[in-house]
């Protein structure tokens, strides 16, 4: 019984570490996630908004799938205690107030997931104008989080 408990605790500790990692890992993972996100949003922006003549349905679907995957990946688990300071790939710009604004942050994440899922659905229809409109809604959720908890350069 005691052994089982120890094993369970040990496993629990290992799993938590593997999921979240140490502070630097969390910062690098989330920075990488946003970088990958940026690659995909840039494609959608270019093909659906700036140069609709280059619209490629398959590429936009792939990009929208990636955006939705990032949104649904549980990004907030990469914002553990102490992750407002760290070098990461480059110094993190997370405001310390992040930890006091959990309600707002969770609400923004929920909106981000909802709009990204909708973008995925819309992309499947292959209409550039619809994609552009929905892409704007996703972008607005990015901004709401930047405005709230991201340090301005």
């Amino acid at each position: 019984m005691k052994l089982k408990l120890i094993v369970a605790l040990a496993l629990g500790a290992v799993t938590t570490a593997a999921v979240a990692g140490d502070v630097e890992d969390q910062i690098r993972f989330r920075q990488s996630a946003y970088s990958f996100l940026g690659w995909n949003t840039a494609k959608i922006k270019a093909q659906a908004a700036d140069h609709p003549e280059t619209f490629n349905k398959d590429q936009v679907i792939a990009a929208a799938n990636a955006v939705a995957a990032v949104a649904n990946s549980g990004l907030l688990s990469l914002y553990g205690p102490g992750t407002d300071k760290g070098t990461g790939w480059k110094p993190t710009r997370l405001k310390p107030e992040f930890f006091e604004k959990q309600d707002e942050v969770k609400e923004i994440e929920a909106t981000f997931i909802k709009e990204a899922n909708e973008l995925q659905k819309v992309a499947a229809n292959g209409d550039a104008a619809e994609v552009k409109a929905q892409f704007g809604k996703v972008g607005a959720t990015c901004k709401s989080c930047h405005d709230l908890i991201r340090v301005r350069e």
């Binding site: 946003y34 970088s35 940026g38 949003t41 480059k90 409109a133 930047h146 301005r152 350069e153």
Partner: protein, 236 residues
């Protein structure tokens, strides 16, 4: 005995009210984000063009539009503080506010050209500088908004105070171009503005905005910038 005198020429008034529309539009679209960011860029371009127009008009426009005629020099400020200043255009205190407003807007318009939002916006000159510098300018752009809001608040409350305390209708003057002035000041009305100067000034303003967006010198830098991006290790 008061007389009505023509003070503000029509290009100056048009500039002023278009600027009001553009600033309100840029502020609202900047706050809302999303696809309205495209409109933020359009309002910003309008502001840039208006500022170029105003700068030139400040040298070749009619009397009271010229910087030389209202620039808040030390002697004018001393006169004003003593209550001895006599004039019909911008008074020295108002002139400080106007120059500060124009400076803040110029800073916003220029930093905006190089800005990015790390979402889906890159200013037309973004690719001519490093991403890191662009990030800094983008941060300053947003800080400067607060300075602009402060200056707008001073500007608007001064107008309200003139209305309440001195019964001077400055808004009406900026709409009609005419001010009610004591006959003792006996200012001569401004000469009507000729279309030639207006057209030249407008052309220069439009050319500046157009060249910023169409590439101009950035076109020469673009291959270099994309080469740097392709070869550089991604930083984030």
């Amino acid at each position: 005995m008061k007389v009505e005198v023509h003070i503000w020429d029509w290009p100056l008034r048009l500039f002023h009210w278009l600027l009001v529309v553009a600033v309100v539009g840029a502020y609202a679209t900047g706050k809302l984000g999303g696809n309205l960011t495209d409109w933020h860029a359009r309002f910003g371009s309008l502001i840039l063009g208006l500022l170029v127009f105003r700068l030139i008009w400040g040298f070749i426009g009619t009397t009271h539009a010229r910087f030389a005629n209202f620039f808040p020099t030390f002697s004018r400020l001393v006169e004003y503080v003593k209550g001895e200043w006599q004039g019909v255009g911008h008074n020295p205190a108002g002139a400080i506010a106007i120059i500060a407003l124009l400076a803040a807007l110029s800073f916003l318009a220029v930093t905006g050209l190089f800005a990015n939002d790390d979402i889906a916006f890159e200013g037309p000159l973004f690719h001519s500088i490093d991403k890191e510098l662009s990030d800094k300018l983008s941060g300053w752009h947003i800080y400067a908004v607060n300075i602009l809001l402060g200056l707008v608040a001073v500007h608007v409350s001064a107008i309200v105070l003139y209305q309440r305390l001195k019964k001077t209708n400055l808004v009406g003057a900026m709409l009609t171009g005419k001010k009610q002035l004591p006959k003792s000041l006996a200012p001569s009305p401004i000469k009507p503005v000729g279309p030639f100067r207006f057209v030249i000034t407008l052309l220069i303003a439009v050319t500046v905005v157009w060249s910023v967006w169409s590439g101009g010198f950035v076109n020469y830098l673009a291959p270099l910038a994309s080469f740097q991006r392709a070869t550089a290790h991604p930083k984030t």
